[in-house]
Each structure stands twice: as C-alpha cells, then as structure tokens.
Subunit: 427 residues, 2 copies
C-alpha cells in the first residue's frame, strides 16, 4: 500500500520504526493533492517547499511524539505562521499571522507536519465555499469544514482540523464518508482560532478512523493519554431520533433505522433516549446565541469592511435578535439548564446514537446542507463523533453520530471507544 | 476645567453639544501624556499623528455614538490594526495585527478615539512590567492591566480597557484609586484578545467613575441601553470578608470595616454574606484551571520561543498540574457548582461588598500584588466593580469591591447602580 492509503496511526508507526520516512510520506500525499485538487478545491494553500522542509527536519531530528511525520491539514480558520490564513474572507486576502494556533502548535510539537490550509466557508459560517464533494462535484461536501472533509475523504491528507459552531465538523465528515470528532466544548484551545460565537465554537478533527481522530485530538489537547482507547463491548446505546427528526430525508431516516437494527444485532443494548419536551427550545436557543455572539465577534469586519462581508452573513449579524440582550441571557440560562438535564438523561448510557445529518450530501453548491441534526448537540457542549455508515441510495455516504454529555470524551476517552465499536460493526 | 480633568460622560456631552472638539480634547490629553509618561511608563505606544487624525475625522464626520470623540487607552493584550500589539512579550516585538479586537472595534464604531496602547504584564500574567504607581514610583500599580490603571489615574486618558483572568482589573484599579469594572464572563467579546485561560479571561474597563465605566462597557458590548444606570437607594449589601480575609493587611482590614460602617450609616442595609464552607476550594480550583489552560493557550510561544518566555511563566505552564486533566475537569465541575450556589447565596442581596485588594499597593516592582481578594470572584464569573474608598495610612488608595452573581450587570445594569450609590457615599 502506498502511504496515502494508510491511516495516521499506521503512518506514525511505520515512520517511528524507520519503515517509512516523513519525506516519502509527504511526497506521496503531495502527489495525491496534485492528482485531485484541481477538481476538488479543498485547499486554500499548499506550499510543497514548506512541506518538504518540515519532512526533512523531522527525518533528521529526534522523535517528537504521537504525530511524528504525519501530515495534517489545517482548516483556514486557524492561524498559521508559515502559511497565509484568510478565514474564508476576502477581507483577509494574503493575511499572514504571527503565530500558529495553539492546537496546531501542540500538534507540531508532537511531530505533525503541516501539509497546508483547507478551505473554510466565510468565517466558518453558512456562506458556501469552492470545495466540491469528492464523489460528485455537483454536490456540496458540507461545511464549514468543507476542505478538511473533502481532503481527508480524497486521501490527500490523513488528518485535518475542523471547527464546529453549529454543525461544521460532523455534517461535512458524514457527507464525505469520514470520521469527524467534535470534542467537548473547551477540550482544545481556541488561541489563534478566528472565533465566531464564543459560547459555541469548538475546535475538532477529521480522520479516516476513530483511532486516527483520537491520535490528533490527544496531541492537540496535550494529553497523550487520550490516545489510548479503551475497549468496550456490547455498549448500551440510547437511540435518539431527536426533536428534529422531521427534517430527515426519507432515505436518511430509513438508513438510520437499519443502522440501529444492525448495531442491536451485533450486541449493542438499545434503549430509548428521546429528549424530553423540556429540550424543545434547543434549536431556537442555539440560533439566538449564534446571532447575538457573531454580531459582536465580527464587529471589526462589519464596521470596517461591510462591503466585503457576504450579504447572508450581514443579514445574520444585523438581525434584530443580535441586539436582544435579554433574550440572549435567557437563551444562555436555558442552554445551561439543558446541559445539566442532559447529564441525567444520558445516565447509564454509553452513548446516544443519532443521525449525523438529515441524509446524503444535497445536490448543489449554494448551501452546505441542513444543520438540524447538529446544532442541538453543539449547544449541549458534549462530544460528538460521526462514523461512516455506508452509502445512501444516491450513492453518497451517510454517517451515524455518537454523542455524550459534556466531558464524556475525557480521561478514558469513553465516547471514542464506543465510536470505535460502532465503526467496527459498520465497516 | 481642562478636558483631561473631565470624565468621559462629560467629555462626550460637551463634544456632542459642540462645546469642545475631539481635537481639543485629544491635544489636552496628549499634553498630559507628555508631562507624566516619562515617569510612569503606562504606555507601550502613543502615536500622536494617529490620535490627531482620528480627532479630525471625528470632528468632520457625523455623530457616531456614545463615545464620540472620547479618548480610550487599550491594554496591549488587545489587537489593534493601527498600533503595534506586543502582549507584553519580547516574542511579539513590533507585531502589527490585521484587525482591531472586537470590543475596540465596537467602541470605535461608537466614536471612541484610540489614544494608544497601555502596558500589560507579559501575556497578562503575574510577570511584572515597567509601569509604576502614579503616586509613588517605588510601588507597583498592580497588574496585569498596569498601564490602564496608571494612565486613567494620572488623567492621561479618561477610559481604558483591561482584562481579568485572576485579579487584573479590580486590583490595579483599586491600587491606583480608579473604578475598575470586570463584567460578567462573556459580556465583552474576546475576538482579537490574546487569551490566556479561556474559562477565566474576561475583558473589562477602567475609568474615573462608575458612570464612565458603564459608558464604555455599553459601547463595547454593543448594548447602548446598558449606559442608562438605574437609581438605587438603601441597597441591601451582603458583607463578605471572604475565605481569604487572612491575607488582608491590618490597615486594609481596618479600612474595610470603616467603609462598611459608613455604608451602613448612609442607609445601606447590611447583612452577613460570608461564603459557606462548600466554597473553600475556590482558590485551589482557580489555580488549577489557570495552570492547565495557560499551558495550552501558550503552546505556540512555549514550543517556538521558550527562551523568550519569562521563567516565572514557564514554571507555571510546566507545573505538573498543567497535565492533570482529571483534576482540571474536577475543578471545572466544582466551579460550575459554586456558580450555581452563589446565585442562591446572593439571593435578595443587591451586591456583595468585599475588599478590592489586601491593602494598599505594596512597595516594590517585582510583584503586582496579592490576588487573594480577586481570584475567587473571577472564578465565579459574576461582575465585579471596584470603587475608590479613600487613602490608606501609607498614603496610597484603597478600593471597595461590589460583586454579584453571573448576569448581575445585564439589562438594568443593577450592579453598576449599586456601585454608583457606594461611590456617591464614599466621595
């Protein structure tokens, strides 16, 4: 197998054993980029010289850590000192930050090789970008981590960073058929990340397997112990179609039911875990918080570069809800209460199982898809992992999502162990 | 009275009425800077041309808002597109950001004139900086918002931004004899602020009066309604010497008792509001969270510029506690529980009254002073306001602090109304 066909753990293992060099690895990935990028537009910047220089330094130097020699794509919402960072906005054309974002710095300290910057939608919002779906260029890859999802799916890079404020990791990962891991809120530092809505923004990762996702998450969190996944068998799964089930496509809904059946047949203990009625305002709450906080987070861009802010985004930050402080504080309070209740709700369950998206990646590039299966979980601050669950009738991938309350991915990385079990059943 | 002797509201009023121009105002403040800065070292950068240019633009243009023509100092932990931003670190010598921090942008959109950048300690931590106390250069002005406190106290600027992660607004403001306002966690956006510890970092403001502090806070939060302070009489004040009372200097403790007596004689209803024993771990909890989060937030600087990170700071981020994820998550949980309990604890009280610092600004410049009266309140996420409370026996200022649970400064700006009442009694 060529390096680009291997996962991140296997690459790291072979490099550590001297069976592969970082240079051989990066050259192979660069060849894949050369072959696929013209069609996919997953990258805002690949600097081959920079990539090769890092590889030679890693090959010549001491072993640095978990990711020694493994190429990583960085969503262009994270600052990088060596590559331009434009946040998907014409305002920041050619912008070169003074630092690496903290989680990128942590990964580099553990030996990661930065291959390039991946496409983000404008300020990681719903404004679509140029990336297309790796299997069908007439379909969206999802967003806002569009480039990271497409690049990992197309095997142009084994690992990539994403961020999720609404559904920006789980949805594109599911659409593109890869693993997406949005950690608990706050697990990864946001220093050097362009924030949108502070109480929702969560950095995370995309990879081709759960094990690979945990590897980069562990390095980025500076917690190597997170890389050691426990083994779980016959997990107790709480099936939750969620209050947003009505948004599911018929095919997506049918596929989810089949996946749940399959998990049950393979040994999972299935229990009902529909959210109680008191969670009915999650959607509206997430929307209020998002609108209010984005208006403040983007104050500079709106004040100074109004003409270069996309009209969809301007409309959001100038929505009357953006100035309703009272409703915002009510929304924060409601969210905090739901987070507390969610801990009790999920008591005794190893993970909630729920759809990753409303169906396959939709046709067209004017929208990054429906966030209905994501926004409520992001608001709840717990970890979410999407695992590939085969293809839908349209021939594009589907995912299934595992969710736990806040903190359910710490220490023994419990949620990731459940996700790995599910991954093993479905692949 | 010359402009630099007036408060921010009065300046805004006179400029709006055409009784003063922004140019006259800024020229007068620049003269004060010329007179005092050589001794105080409160500024990292004053660009007179930039200041005068803004003044001329404001005088020639339409009325922008609450702060039209009022000079503001910006702690050099906030990014500014027009002035270098160095975060108190040699690593960022001459660094010029691509944007204004969101709260600076919001203030400018409301007409603020950026006079310059004020000194911060290194990355807003305990590492001291060059600023001296405006009344006695052998004493610390406090930190980390050292320059903002000294500049406002010396009337070099009427308003300034600060940030508080432990005690970085309230303590220096109290030491220097000005008003310091640390809002509820999250009230002001942190976009474009160099973060240290994400779950503690809080932007705030310093001014010469409570009314002036609310003016800039309202503009920065993009909530003009916050500028309208309600009137409160005979507030119910919960006296709290706090679990850290043992850290108080004898003189500081005696002065606090006198202030409380005075407030009672002037009509405040005093009740006991000592924190219950269950709050006993606040200090250690704050320390754990700080250490863990700073190690991650500064990952880039530590990995790439180790030799240019101050040894005190290196020792903190390399403390074993920085890698104890389990203790960190326990600390977060404990903090969240205390925040909930604090709401009940303060029920029916208009504000907690507690010392702002352990006493007068200490002698020497090698420490920015004891944070014992601040770190517990910062961890609780509620708003804190320090109001000048006369001078201590050493001839330096003392402050008294008003605190409420999270959200106690929203909408009707209740805490600020209480603080104004206290200010009226004490001045």
């Amino acid at each position: 197998m060529k390096p680009h066909e291997l996962g991140a753990r296997e690459l790291a293992r072979r490099i550590a054993r001297g069976e592969l060099t970082a240079l051989e690895v990066v050259q192979d990935f660069l060849a894949e980029v050369a072959a696929r990028e013209g069609e996919l537009h997953a990258w805002t910047r690949i600097d081959a010289d920079f990539a090769l220089r890092q590889a030679r330094e890693l090959d010549a130097g001491v072993y640095r850590g978990l990711l020694h020699g493994v190429p990583v794509g960085v969503k262009d919402i994270f600052d990088t000192a060596d590559l331009p960072t434009e946040y998907g906005s014409p305002i920041y054309k050619g912008h070169r930050p003074a630092w690496d974002a903290a989680c990128v710095a942590a990964a580099r300290a553990a030996g990661a090789l930065i291959l390039g910057k991946t496409v983000t939608t404008e300020f990681a919002t719903m404004v679509p970008a140029a990336t297309v779906h790796p299997r069908n260029p007439r379909h969206t890859p999802g967003g806002s981590s569009s480039g990271s999802a497409a690049a990992v799916a197309a095997r142009m890079v084994p690992l990539a960073y994403g961020t999720q404020t609404v559904g920006s990791i789980v949805r594109p990962a599911a659409y593109c058929g890869v693993v997406g891991y949005k950690p608990s809120y706050g697990l990864l530092s946001r220093s050097g990340m362009k924030m949108g809505a502070e109480s929702l923004d969560t950095p995370g990762v995309l990879a081709r397997s759960v094990e690979d996702a945990t590897l980069i998450a562990a390095a980025s969190a500076m917690l190597p112990e997170l890389a050691h996944l426990g083994v779980i068998e016959q997990p107790r799964l709480g099936v939750c179609r969620s209050p947003n089930w009505k948004h599911m496509s018929r095919e997506g809904a049918a596929a989810f039911e089949k996946v749940v059946d399959r998990l049950g047949r393979e040994g999972a203990k299935l229990v009902d875990a529909e959210l109680p009625e008191s969670f009915g305002e999650l959607d509206e709450t997430a929307q209020r918080i998002l609108t209010y906080e984005m208006a403040r987070g983007l104050a500079h861009e709106v004040a100074q570069f109004r003409g270069n802010v996309h009209p969809m985004l301007l409309a959001r930050v100038e929505d009357p809800a953006a100035s309703e402080h009272k409703h915002y504080t009510i929304a924060l309070k409601y969210a905090a209460e739901c987070r507390r209740q969610f801990v009790q709700h999920a008591d005794g369950i190893d993970a909630i199982v729920t759809p990753s998206a409303t169906g396959e990646a939709p046709f067209g590039l004017e929208s990054t898809g429906n966030t209905a299966m994501n926004r409520l979980w992001t608001l709840l601050h717990g970890p979410c992992v999407t695992v590939p669950a085969g293809d839908g009738p349209g021939g594009l991938p589907l995912g299934v999502q595992l969710v736990r309350p806040y903190g359910g991915d710490r220490a023994d990385a419990h949620l990731l162990a459940v996700a790995r079990w599910v991954e093993g059943v479905l692949t």
